[in-house]
């Protein structure tokens, strides 16, 4: 049984304006591309325009002779050197790939690196690319996943003898075959979770520089993961880890696309060392679209079995996941991050899961906002709607019948996860209240009856997800190489100001503000007196960075523990100063006072100064005042919510319009509701983007057709309605602050809400699925197929 609260105190819970926004919004900050070092050389990349080919000849002499060119490197200069690596070999028999830093004899996707020019100016480096002469012997491109697995298919990696990367059958609870045998209804669907391109406002950028006095190479890079990157750079380049410093300065968005080790980063480090000069590169938007890793790209064969009265018995999930040409940091693991989420919020007896990863001659895939969970949530929320249609039940009633009731928490799901808390009833009730379901259903009926060209549909998504990959031993059991802990150090400076060092690495999330709010409540120092330090392995040496909605879910726990340690050390000093036992000291809002004698008191700032001078410390207490903690959480946390969408579909043109969107999220305790609201809005835009606008498309030769923002459409504010949002608050019981995570929820929840709404609008016309994005053409084709009696 869980309680749903709505109370806040202190700094936590206040919608403070973000400290960091003035500099981020004006751009008057240290974006990597703003970094100017004397003597900088610039990199430009010659990239393959062919998806699959042998490099038969390469002549760089003219480019080497061009104005300003210092050198031109090809794969021959870096034999065997990897440019990226996979830290999550998900099965024992996985077929791994070598991702060369520069291709040596074969290119495997459009955008693969063939040569790099180093020049004194970036214009000259770019000019010289045209002077490199490459001869290719074109090889057949592997584009379609199913064709890739067929006998006799051309091979992406001919030395491997197969395009099959791995198959991970996961023995989740129950026996699906048995429950299917006793089911009254079995619904089967194939969903296409299309390939997406993470589109960050700031493209990738790197500056690598030898620091002169020592052997240190510093890499500034627009990354989400400076700490992980440092370890991997050391392993891949052979440069000792202690000689590498990685800095993620202010970073303008990541969405998973910057959770990576990229060959451009590896090359910058190698060349800075080799040439002894700073090396700089900022990608163009075209390069970003082509070569920042892509996301999603799964074929999902889903089956759900139920009784005739709507009791869900089990699901079967068979996935084909497109790896692209090479495995990068967690390419094979990304679809598996969703495997625990296929039962969603529903109770069922059995779940059969299998995922097959496939190599193709396309840009590598990897984590993109939600990473596996959006795909899972899409599949379960779509198939539940299809089941409702099959049973003739109201889709919300079917959900209510099957979801975990709030009094049943903690609840162990068929996948074996224990959801600590949740209240699906409360979030749904609030969402329905805000949405006006009855009026919309009435309007829908009128439009259907009158044969209005514009039909109305209602889309539902009642979702949960998992945040904060942890604890570390669980990750180890999943063959994930890294841990799931997080670190925080809080230092009280002599003047009473605070430095909070976190191992999380924000790229727009507002950690500087939110972490200050947490620390402010714990140590009793004003928010504005707290400086949050992050994203620099030199200044914040320990950390696991920011992805998977882990920063608050995991990092928040470290802040709390570090703050409490600082408070306890200060308590001992305070007791000494006030000449009482530490047990007789009360701490409240930054003030230590003697129990029963509140006039006898001192402040945490005063103690910070005492700890600095160290003139009068108790025996055995070391000078300086700080608290440090590295925390491995007990478990994941499970935010949830109910999202509702009213969709208009123009049946004559196929155009879809999002008319109304209600999102009620439950992310537990909110540190800063304004930041939560921002995360919800951004997540919704991206999830709606997948449902309505986005989709990377390749032709049969492996050329990316959506290679510009003119063809790869992302929604802007002009395309989205004003979202109606609210929160219910069901604190997590596994997180000491009661928080969960909110960074990905909007992107996870909204995609199925939109598509369910589109299908609901035209289901009476015989349509039971529309391919994503629900573009006019895809809707039109679905309607045409239905007219011909060809609905799936």
């Amino acid at each position: 049984m869980t309680d749903t609260l709505n109370e806040t105190m202190g700094a936590i819970g206040r919608p403070l304006r973000r400290k960091e926004d003035a500099r981020l919004v004006t751009g008057n900050t240290n974006w990597t591309d703003n970094i100017q070092l004397p003597g900088t050389l610039h990199m430009a990349f010659l990239r393959s325009s062919i998806a699959h080919a042998k490099i038969t000849h390469i002549d760089t002499s003219a480019a080497k002779a061009a104005e300003g060119v210092v050198h031109v490197y090809t794969g021959a200069d870096f034999p065997g050197q990897p440019g990226s690596t996979c830290v999550w070999p998900v099965t024992d028999d996985i077929v791994l790939s070598h991702y060369p830093v520069i291709c040596e004899d074969e290119v495997k996707y459009v955008g693969d690196v063939v040569a790099v020019v180093i020049a004194t100016e970036k214009y000259l480096a770019t000019d010289a690319l045209d002077l490199i002469d490459v001869d290719y012997e074109v090889l057949p491109a592997v584009v379609d996943m199913e064709a890739a697995l067929a006998e006799g298919s051309p091979l992406v990696h001919s030395d491997k003898g197969t395009n099959h990367c791995y198959t991970a059958p996961v023995p989740f609870g129950g026996n699906y075959a048995e429950v299917k045998a006793k089911a009254d209804v079995v619904v089967t669907r194939r969903f296409i979770n299309q390939r997406l391109i993470p589109t960050t406002m700031e493209p990738r950028a790197v500056v690598a520089a030898p620091m002169g006095m020592t052997d240190e190479i510093t890499l500034w890079t627009a990354t989400q993961v400076p700490h992980v990157l440092r370890v991997l750079l050391a392993l891949l380049t052979g440069i000792p880890e202690n000689n590498l410093r990685v800095v993620a300065p202010d970073v303008g968005g990541g969405f998973g696309g910057k959770l990576q080790i990229y060959r451009e980063e590896v090359l910058a480090v190698l060349l800075a060392k080799k040439l002894g000069r700073p090396i700089k590169w900022t990608e163009t938007r075209s390069e970003s679209i082509l070569t920042m890793h892509h996301g999603r790209d799964q074929i999902q064969d889903i089956e759900i079995a139920a009784t005739s009265d709507g009791q869900i018995l089990g699901m079967q999930v068979h996935l084909l996941a497109d790896m692209g040409a090479y495995l990068q940091i967690i390419t094979p693991g990304t679809p598996l991050l969703g495997m625990f989420m296929y039962s969603g919020i529903y109770k069922m007896e059995a779940l059969d899961f299998k995922c097959t990863g496939v190599y193709t001659n396309k840009t590598p895939t990897d984590a993109y906002r939600g990473a596996g969970r959006p795909e899972a949530t899409f599949a379960v929320e779509r198939i539940v709607d299809e089941l409702a249609a099959e049973l003739g039940m109201d889709p919300m009633e079917l959900r209510k019948k099957n979801w975990i009731k709030h009094e049943e928490f903690p609840y162990t799901t068929v996948e074996g996860l224990t959801y600590d808390t949740g209240n699906y009833e409360a979030a749904t009730a609030r969402a329905l209240e805000l949405f006006g379901m009855e009026e919309l259903r009435a309007e829908q009926a009128v439009r259907r009856a009158s044969g209005d060209p514009v039909q109305l549909g209602i889309g539902i998504s009642t979702f949960t997800e998992m945040c904060g990959l942890a604890p570390s031993r669980t990750l180890g059991a999943l063959k994930y190489v890294a841990g799931g802990w997080e670190h925080c150090t809080i230092r009280a400076l002599p003047t009473g100001k605070i430095e909070l060092v976190t191992g999380t690495s924000p790229h727009g999330q507002g950690h500087a503000t939110a972490w200050s709010q947490i620390a402010s409540d714990i140590i009793g120092v004003p928010v504005e007196d707290i400086e949050v330090i992050y994203g620099d392995t030199g200044r914040s040496p320990y950390g696991m960075d920011t992805y998977g909605s882990r920063s608050l879910a995991v990092g928040g726990q470290a802040i709390k523990a570090a703050g409490e340690r600082l408070v306890e050390k200060a308590r001992i000093i305070a007791a000494h100063q006030l000449e009482v036992s530490p047990d007789d000291i009360e701490f409240n809002a930054g003030t230590y006072s003697v129990k029963g004698d509140p006039e006898k008191a001192t402040t945490i700032q005063a103690i910070a100064f005492e700890a600095f001078t160290a003139h009068n410390l108790p025996d055995g207490v070391e000078p300086t005042l700080s608290g440090e903690a590295t925390v491995d959480p007990m478990d994941f946390s499970y935010p949830h919510g109910t999202h509702l969408a009213a969709m208009e579909v123009d049946t004559e043109t196929g155009k879809v319009k999002l008319r109304k969107y209600v999102a009620v999220d439950d992310c537990g305790v909110q540190i800063n509701p304004m930041i939560v609201e921002g995360q919800v809005h951004g997540g919704l835009a991206q999830g709606i983007g997948q449902a309505m606008y986005e989709g990377a498309e390749y032709d049969s030769n492996g050329n990316l057709l959506t290679a510009s923002m003119g063809d790869y459409l992302i929604p802007s504010s002009a395309d989205l309605p004003s979202f109606i949002t609210d929160r219910t608050v069901t604190p997590s019981s596994t997180h000491p602050l009661g928080t969960k995570g909110i960074g990905e929820a909007g992107a996870i929840a909204s995609t199925p809400a939109i598509v369910n709404g589109v299908v609901d609008a035209i289901r009476h016309l015989g349509v039971n699925d529309v391919l994503m994005p629900t573009s006019p053409q895809n809707v039109y084709r679905a309607l045409q197929a239905a007219n011909k009696g060809g609905a799936a």
């Binding site: 002009a718 573009s775 006019p776």
Partner: protein, 284 residues
């Protein structure tokens, strides 16, 4: 991305611009508002040796009332075309089309003449110009000449403007008394038209007495849907009659296929949207 190196000439008169083009030879490009040219340069789809900037040529930045027509300078911005009182009063099709172009920032930089001279088949303003039977005033080394819209647009990104010529102005016949509408179909607010339909309709006593319909992105250049125009004349201004006439909208078109729409879907859209555009223009 980064453009290749080029020479830059800033002209202050039309004659200076023409002289600069003649001097530069065939490998020169005119820079107006830059909203089409700069992306082309940055993507290195083109690498002209000389850029002749005409954005400071005063003559091409004015709108003149000539009585039965408006003379709109080629350098008048899309935003001004959308909001100018003369244009709104006498060529509302053009102002409402201009309002659908891209976003506000682009409309403030991009120009009417630039859009026509660039002649992107997905451009909106060329379609309106075709429906309006505009005339294009072109200056070259031998003086000035005037070309009809039918002859101005030649092919994909190709117009009657020669390599040593400058589009100076567009003469827009007034359409007082006509109903007008531009129906743009795209996926996001700032996206190019998948299909667009410009319609001008004259209705007298409930009967369509004249109609002009032009299509965006249904071929290599703006296409007049002449069979629809013919079918509409003399018909009652009713939804059914208009729909029937619009059924031939895609006849004789050559739409391309791309990631947003294949040729068959574009043809379907042309029929539906023509019906809608004409109906709106006719006040039905």
């Amino acid at each position: 991305m980064i453009p290749s190196a080029f020479d830059y000439v800033k002209a202050t008169t039309v004659d200076e611009a023409v002289a600069a083009l003649v001097a530069a030879g065939e490998d020169a490009k005119i820079l107006g508002g830059g909203q089409s040219l700069l992306p082309v340069l940055r993507l290195r789809l083109n690498a002209p040796s000389t850029i002749v900037d005409i954005s400071n040529v005063a003559e091409i930045r004015t709108i003149t009332d000539e009585g039965s027509s408006l003379l709109i300078g080629a350098g008048v911005t899309t935003d001004e075309v959308a909001n100018n009182a003369l244009v709104k009063a006498h060529a509302p099709l053009l102002s409402m089309t201009a309002e659908t172009v891209a976003d506000r920032a682009i409309r403030h930089r991009g120009t009417f003449g630039g859009s026509c001279a660039h002649a992107d088949p997905a451009g909106d303003l060329p379609t309106a110009a075709a429906a309006l039977d505009c005339e294009f005033v072109i200056a070259g080394p031998g003086g000035r000449r005037t070309v009809s819209a039918a002859d101005f647009f030649v092919d994909f990104f190709t117009t009657a403007v020669g390599p040593d010529e400058v589009l100076v102005a567009v003469r827009v016949p007034k359409t007082d008394g006509w109903g007008a509408h531009y129906e743009k179909f795209n996926r996001t607010a700032q996206a190019w038209a998948i299909v667009g339909v410009a319609a001008l309709v004259k209705v007298d006593g409930g009967v369509i007495t004249d109609a002009r319909v032009a299509l965006t992105n249904m071929g290599p250049k703006p296409i007049r849907a002449t069979s629809v125009e013919a079918a509409l004349k003399g018909q009652p201004a009713t939804a059914d009659a208009i729909k029937a006439a619009a059924a031939s909208a895609a006849d004789g078109t050559k739409p391309t296929s791309d990631v947003h729409a294949d040729a068959e879907f574009r043809s379907h859209l042309a029929r539906v949207l023509t019906g809608r555009a004409v109906a709106t223009a006719a006040g039905v």
